[in-house]
């Protein structure tokens, strides 16, 4: 956070490398955005083909709304997302409180387990849960999807809430206790309101991860428990249609709204960046 940052670039430097860097950067941003933009663009195409433009139309969105299987998948996604988020947010927040306030034997192991859960390849998590549910004779369905989603989102909530806790002034809590507040009162009246933005950001993050997850869900879902990403995947297996573009557009915008919402809770979005990077 040096004050010099953003100051004038040193004198006498050639302008050429700066220009080249600028042009390259613009191209990389284009690379990041163009493919999604193309999908959104073609979702409004008034033709069956996804390759030729035939004028603006919202017919694919209409078709989407009339498709009961899509609505069912959306409903499943919401049930899973909301339930898994609620559970993961509570557990993740408790974990963050435990880890940021205490130094105990086994803390390194706890830390490592939390981080391992965020970087473990999804396919490994998916198949291991599948094997586990089959061995435990738990039928695959909405419940197993929720269990799996909680398992992989707890760590993200923990990381985000912990980031918020680390920036908190502990003396406020001490003051509350000196003034006679019980530990529970202190938590509810002082700590919780202070970390609430972090908790909210963590919850929105968990919801997005759950809403977008494909790989893990793919392995732990059963008949009739298709979520939106699974629905998109099965539609894709039957061929590329403009309906998929429309559905993708809706999913993209849903995620975008939620993430920008989460970003508002956390100025600058720095903590979201930190959390997702471990994934």
């Amino acid at each position: 956070m040096a004050a010099v940052r953003g100051g004038p670039v040193y004198k006498g430097m050639g302008k050429l490398p700066d220009r080249a860097l600028l042009v390259l950067s613009v191209f990389i941003y284009l690379f990041l955005y163009a493919p999604i933009a193309i999908v959104i663009f073609f979702s409004f195409n008034d033709a069956k083909s996804t390759q030729n433009w035939a004028g603006f139309s919202t017919r694919w969105y209409g078709e989407l709304i009339r498709d009961q299987t899509v609505l069912d998948a959306f409903y499943n996604s919401m049930i899973v997302g909301v339930t898994a988020t609620a559970i993961a947010t509570v557990i993740g927040t408790l974990t963050a409180l435990a880890l940021s306030r205490n130094d105990f034997r086994g803390k390194t192991f706890a830390d490592s387990a939390i981080y391992a859960a965020t970087v473990m390849p999804e396919i490994v998590v998916g198949v291991s849960l599948l094997v586990f549910f089959v061995a435990a004779q738990i039928g695959l369905g909405i419940t197993t999807i929720i269990i799996a989603h909680v398992a992989f989102t707890i760590s993200f909530v923990t990381i985000v809430v912990r980031a918020r806790l680390s920036g908190m002034d502990r003396s406020i809590e001490e003051a509350a206790q000196d003034l006679g507040a019980s530990p529970v009162q202190t938590f509810l009246r002082v700590t919780l309101p202070l970390i609430l933005p972090g908790v909210m950001a963590g919850a929105l993050l968990a919801f997005t991860l759950s809403f977008d997850d494909f790989v893990i869900t793919f392995f732990v879902s059963g008949v009739g428990s298709s979520t939106l990403p699974l629905k998109i995947y099965s539609m894709l297996k039957f061929g590329v249609t403009p309906v998929i573009n429309a559905l993708s557009t809706i999913v993209v915008f849903t995620t975008l709204v939620i993430i920008l919402g989460a970003g508002r809770f956390f100025a600058g979005g720095d903590d979201l960046k930190n959390a997702r990077k471990d994934s």
């Binding site: 690379f31 990041l32 999604i36 390759q51 396919i123 490994v124």
Partner: protein, 287 residues
């Protein structure tokens, strides 16, 4: 409330009980289970007999599978390199901007990164498909005469992966470069170093933690990638992730599938150990 080192209180145990239970039961136990399965023997009808059978791991050296494993690592390595080559300039560009611009620019990297993984892979199906935009562009530029086969190639898989994982490289690189003290660059240049020299001798070495973290975050998941090769590689570019999926859902050889999954998990372990040795543990939490 603050505990001493090694201090375990009832309150602390209460706070940690739910996570221990959930991650223990639904993350660690399943991993131990596939570790056990990976040494088991699959029966002809899908059952599994536990034991100590290293055959599942040796199976990887079967030329048929070895080819898939080799292809997986080559594609994951190329992908990591592409992400580094594209990600470094952009992270560098962003990191040395003013504070407000920086926040905005990095947010612009994060938005596509947050967009559904499946949809980002699908976007390339639309682009590379049949006579899609990519083929039209090639013909327009006069590079090809008619539509050529772009999708279902190793190239399509690599491209899709570079697209999906680029932000995973940019973010840690940015985090490393952002901490960089510009005065070091100025000092190097005041002492007569050229811009080129300053970069290679000062800036780049100091950004190494970001380079290593980014490379791990790209390499590990791309080695285990299953959606991208499935959608963009078809049956001709099968990677380890697809092989795992096949063993579990089609071939029903869970022992071999578990061994493959354990190899992917072990890869992660090696990568983390490498990172800790090179960069240290305190950074692990900061990333």
């Amino acid at each position: 409330m603050r505990g001493r080192k090694g201090g375990w209180s009832l309150g602390l145990a209460g706070l940690l009980a739910p996570v221990t239970l959930w991650l223990g039961l639904f993350f660690l136990v399943p991993l131990l289970l596939i570790l056990a399965y990976s040494f088991g023997t699959s029966g002809p009808y899908g059952g599994i007999t536990l034991g100590f059978n290293p055959g599942n791991y040796l199976n990887v050296f079967d030329p048929l599978y070895l080819q898939i494993v080799g292809r997986t690592f080559v594609i994951a390595a190329i992908n990591t390199l592409i992400c580094l080559l594209l990600g470094y300039p952009l992270a560098y560009f962003i990191a040395f901007k003013g504070r407000r611009r920086r926040t905005m620019l990095i947010l612009m990297v994060m938005v596509p990164f947050w967009t559904s993984f499946l949809i980002r892979a699908y976007a390339w199906v639309v682009i590379l498909n049949g006579n899609g935009i990519a083929n039209k562009t090639l013909q327009f530029l006069g590079i090809t005469d008619g539509p050529i086969n772009l999708i279902f190639t190793p190239g399509a898989v690599t491209l899709g992966m570079a697209y999906a994982y680029l932000p995973f490289m940019i973010l840690p690189l940015y985090a490393a470069l952002e901490k960089f003290d510009v005065r070091l660059k100025e000092a190097a240049q005041d002492l007569g170093a050229s811009r080129w020299h300053t970069f290679w001798r000062v800036t780049f070495p100091l950004s190494m933690p970001g380079v290593i973290a980014g490379s791990i975050l790209v390499f590990i998941p791309s080695a285990g990638e299953f959606v991208i090769p499935d959608l963009l590689g078809g049956s001709r570019t099968v990677l380890m992730g697809n092989l795992v999926q096949q063993q579990f859902l089609q071939a029903r050889d869970w022992a071999f599938g578990s061994a493959l999954a354990m190899i992917l998990a072990a890869l992660l372990l090696v990568a983390i150990m490498f990172y800790v040795r090179k960069v240290g543990t305190e950074k692990l939490e900061g990333v």
